[in-house]
């Protein structure tokens, strides 16, 4: 068993305390953030594999009344990287700018509606291993792959739900093939 860190995107959260109470009564490894515009649940889930972790977390969220719309792998800030690697923020800053280390540090992803630079921990841990500064986090790498697959399925589910009845059957056939 490994612990998989990932984030689920959820629809609007009406009453945060009530929604959190419902969710936490089903599972003790998620943390809900959200408001009327939408929310996220950060999970640290122990499971046999990443896909099982993500799918069971979706079940728990939807069982508590939340609507899951997406999955993101474990994304971290530069400060998180410093914390995880026990290095100073300045050292991490040098890796990012290429002043230290082998260069080509993974590019950040800037989330829609936010200017916060977030890095894929799977990519960073791979870079650290190449640079001889750490080990690959295999659970993070597995989560990154699983998150892409399940996110695609969630998007497909939304397309199917929104599709006109006449087209839905053909679309389901495509997905089932």
């Amino acid at each position: 068993m490994s612990t998989y860190w990932f984030e689920l995107e959820v629809g609007p959260v009406g009453d945060l305390d009530e929604a959190a109470e419902q969710l936490y009564s089903l599972c003790g490894d998620g943390q809900l953030a959200g408001d009327e515009h939408g929310g996220t649940v950060v999970f640290s889930r122990e499971a046999l594999n990443a896909v099982t972790a993500i799918l069971s977390a979706i079940d728990d969220c939807e069982g508590s009344g939340l609507t899951v719309t997406g999955v993101m792998e474990d994304m971290v800030t530069a400060e998180d990287i410093a914390e995880k690697t026990s290095r100073s923020g300045q050292a991490v800053g040098h890796w990012i700018t290429g002043e230290r280390g082998p260069g080509d540090f993974p590019a950040p992803i800037i989330r829609r509606g936010s200017r916060v630079k977030l890095y894929s921990w799977a990519e960073v841990s791979f870079w650290l291993s190449i640079a001889g500064l750490g080990r690959i986090d295999s659970a993070a790498a597995e989560t990154a792959g699983g998150a892409v697959e399940v996110d695609a399925l969630l998007r497909a589910r939304k397309v199917l739900r929104d599709a006109p009845t006449a087209q839905r059957k053909a679309m389901v056939k495509l997905v089932d093939a």
Binding site: T3, V13, L16, D17, E18, A19, A20, E21, Y24, S25, C27, G28, D29, G30, Q31, L32, A33, G34, D35, H37, G38, G39, V42, S44, E46, V76, T77, A78, E79, D80, E83, S114, R115, V116, K117
Partner: protein
């Protein structure tokens, strides 16, 4: 009442100016925390689980929110300085 790691992380949030509101009469949702930058800053309010499976993980999730806020503030300062 959450464990010592979660309590320590909550104290760090308070020291950093986050608003923490303790919920009452709830079995699991112990508190909600709001970013000092307001609702349009780095994250919407988040709920702190008072009965997490792993106390250290809940604390780490809280600290990640605080670090996201630092990153947001740094990005804003960078833009203003540019």
């Amino acid at each position: 009442m959450p464990g010592k790691h979660t309590r320590a992380a909550i104290k760090e949030l308070l020291d950093a100016g986050w608003q923490v509101t303790y919920t009452s009469a709830r079995a699991h949702a112990y508190a909600r925390a709001s970013c000092p930058g307001g609702p349009d800053c780095c994250t919407p309010p988040f709920s702190i689980n008072g009965t997490p499976d792993v106390d250290e993980h809940e604390a780490e999730k809280i600290r990640r929110k605080a670090r996201q806020h630092h990153a947001k503030v740094a990005a804003r300062q960078e833009e203003e300085g540019a």
